[in-house]
Symmetry: C2
Subunit: 474 residues, 2 copies
């Protein structure tokens, strides 16, 4: 699997100097990122592209090739795959479209290609995909990707790894995380997944430096395999699946040829396998930061703290509607809050009014985080004074100290939210609903983790007993 993200040598098949040649954009990207391995172009004329040497066939390349990337019309792909097999290439990414998603002829081509895979023991990513991205070594074989347009932020190393069944979603995620506090580790676009599928990559990301796994799915290839693997993974797995309605399923099928997946079955499979199901596509990039910056939420009792009275009520509504609870503050806690200064409301939601002292914010954060009756915070400070930013900067550390999370939203324009988030690297969500959802998924992951650890204990116990009984038999 490593070869798909960290190849030492790579052949891009279909890359030429013709105008609008898509495969050439992959070579341009490897050049832009100063990819240190050997790179070869394969095209009809055998011409070199973007300074990388060209050949008319992979069979002519004078050294070993770790990874072949194929991007030419579907009709030629089966024969090219056969040649790759002959050359000894065992890892291929097929980015071309026109296979099972494109009707009968495409399906026939896909079957023909799959024959060669078996013959040569080749592992394939795709077809109809965008390829892979690894921010750690700046390896990326996405086609049509103009790095100058997006800047280097796409390659800033992070700890979230994505498995996506649509290149467009991949670019949306990268584009959005450029303005957020957490970044991408690896990304793989799986397309029609004729061979490797989401489960294979979950397994792989469970073993590397990934902290959170995000998935965009249009179909599930092998439900049992996905559940078996997901159950053994303790990193948070977040999944957005299209096709909650008949109409959505039909639209997705024309895109990446997935089989109709019954949504109710998928929903229950997620619950059983410990996969967090996302409600909105934006949650794929907005929610991971609750895992990378905050401890897990171990209970549902939330304290709301705001300096904008309206948001006390707004937050209370959203929390309750999402299955959370408003923590009932103990008299002792309320007394401690009262002593910090003049407040509008010492009960939960705590309303500071137009307080301007950083210390007052910090005192109340500390009182709430240390209160036994509080599992986590929903903090909604209007950042109309810089001291508020200083206070919430310290909140992140306090949360780690007390091992309780805070979800932050600031009731200012989205423009201001993004500018504060990127400037100060504070995990701020873009709406109160999003902040509450972050608490919900954090708590969900906490419960999944307990369940998974129990499962493993049982497995270990069973395994130990097996060993003991084996030894006894000896």
């Amino acid at each position: 699997m490593e070869k798909f993200f960290n190849p030492q040598s790579i052949a891009v098949i279909g890359a030429s100097n013709s105008p609008l040649n898509l495969a050439a954009t992959i070579l341009a990207l490897l050049r832009y990122n100063n990819f240190p391995g050997d790179v070869f172009a394969v095209n009809r004329k055998g011409e070199s592209v973007h300074g990388f040497p060209g050949y008319t066939s992979v069979l002519e390349i004078p050294c070993h090739v770790d990874l072949a990337v194929i991007l030419l019309s579907a009709a030629h792909v089966p024969e090219i795959v056969r040649q790759c097999g002959e050359k000894g290439i065992r890892h291929i990414i097929i980015e071309s479209a026109g296979f099972s998603e494109a009707g009968e002829e495409g399906l026939r081509l896909q079957k023909e290609m799959e024959m060669h895979l078996k013959t040569y023991g080749i592992r394939i990513l795709g077809p109809n995909c965008l390829g892979t991205l690894n921010t750690q070594n700046r390896f990326c074989c996405f086609y049509g990707f103009v790095p100058e347009k997006y800047g280097d932020s796409f390659f800033t190393p992070g700890t979230i790894s994505y498995i996506i069944q649509s290149g467009g979603i991949g670019v949306l995620v990268l584009d959005s995380l450029a303005f957020d506090v957490c970044k991408v580790n690896k990304m793989v676009s799986i397309g029609n997944k004729s061979d490797l599928d989401e489960a294979d990559f979950i397994e792989y990301f469970n073993q590397d430096n990934t902290e959170v796994i995000g998935m965009y799915l249009e179909s599930v290839r092998d439900g049992n395999k996905l559940m078996r693997i997901a159950r053994s993974v303790k990193k948070p797995i977040l999944a957005f699946k299209v096709g909650r309605t008949e109409e959505g399923i039909h639209a997705a099928m024309s895109h990446t040829a997935g089989m109709a997946t019954n949504d109710i079955i998928f929903e229950s499979a997620c619950k059983q396998a410990g996969i967090i199901r996302l409600k909105h596509i934006s949650e794929l990039y907005s929610l991971p930061k609750i895992f990378t910056t905050m401890p897990l939420l171990r209970g549902k009792r939330i304290a709301v703290i705001t300096n904008s009275g309206a948001f006390g009520g707004i937050a209370a509504d959203i929390l309750i509607e999402h299955g959370m609870k408003l923590a009932k503050l103990a008299p002792f806690t309320q007394q401690r809050i009262q002593k910090t200064g003049q407040l509008f409301n010492v009960k939960n939601p705590v309303d500071l009014g137009p307080a301007m002292s950083k210390q007052m914010f910090l005192d109340i954060f500390e009182i709430l985080l240390s209160a036994e009756e509080v599992d986590g915070l929903l903090a909604i400070p209007n950042v109309w004074q810089d001291v508020v930013i200083e206070a919430i900067l310290e909140l992140v550390n306090m949360c780690k100290h007390y091992n309780k999370p805070a979800a932050l939203y600031v009731p200012n324009s989205i423009q201001k939210i993004i500018s504060i988030r990127t400037k100060y690297n504070i995990p701020i969500f873009e709406s109160p609903e999003e902040a509450v959802r972050a608490l919900v998924v954090s708590n969900q992951q906490y419960h999944y983790l307990i369940k998974k650890e129990k499962l493993q204990e049982e497995f270990n116990l069973y395994h130990d007993n097996e060993i003991i009984s084996c030894e006894r038999e000896r």
Copy 2:
């Protein structure tokens, strides 16, 4: 009512030169905005503030005063109101907090003050409010508002008028609309609404240049009055009400002293009175643009057009879940689409794939908008090429021509969405869910309008018959 938004002379009571004096910020704002009328400061020392002459009492001011703005501690307010009455001031804004929202003593003060209102026939806005804003003449008496911090965008004249029961929400709306295509006409913060309430301002905004009315409510003072007035208003009325849960109601009560309003009753009152109920606070500023830039949606059959395959399925799911329908494209329409060029999918959702021709976009927009089986568009173009922006710029005009709306979302980072929206003045929504909600409320308003027009016809008919029968009797 006009005097609250367009006074010729104003006294700010409580404004002094003490550090952190909040009322003085109102004078600073009037100065910043070059308010052309007469302005007076009233304080204990009678000192002038920000260059405006000062008096120790309104009774000393040598000329008539249209509007008094009071911002000093609640205990003094009843006596000040009495003095205003004596002076002949008939319009007062009380921004001070500490009345009915603050327990028994506050309630007593509010009652005492209300006595004076009756005696002198004074109309009051507040207490516990932020006052009024009128972008047409740049009159604004919001306290604590630092114009230098927000820039002039807050005073860019627009056509949406807001009635808000929280100053914080007012600032959030203004802050957000600074990065959007529609702007504020007038805004009124109603606070505890001891006299004037939401219904009074709906009635007022129905007669001025307002196009859309937005409301943030924590309580409803007089449900029957609100319903009676809303029923007669044909401009779209959008309302967000806090307190959908017990917990939300309690939080709101501590904020602006509203009575608990049963949410189910409010919901059904909205439906009967033709008020569009909002689901998220952000809809208060995100959704009005569907009314100011697009025709109403007259049916539920939506055509989706995208160049990012994944969003075909994502959009289909959201549309169906929101009660919309995917338009079934007639064979003739599909043939016309097919002829425009190479597409990924000619059925609905229409997937253009990585099409780069502006004309192709325009052709398909035209085909879909002119199709009888389509009521409106959900357009989700990835703007990875400038030609796409040029195409959607023309879409806005085409929608007017065909009298059908398009809701636009572009699957790019929120940062990019905002930058395109403000640079090109295109009504782009910030998520696919928001775009679908815009279609939903547009269709809702269409149906409300039919109902309201019918009601009026019946009323007119009844009225005509009355006249006829009166004449007959003569």
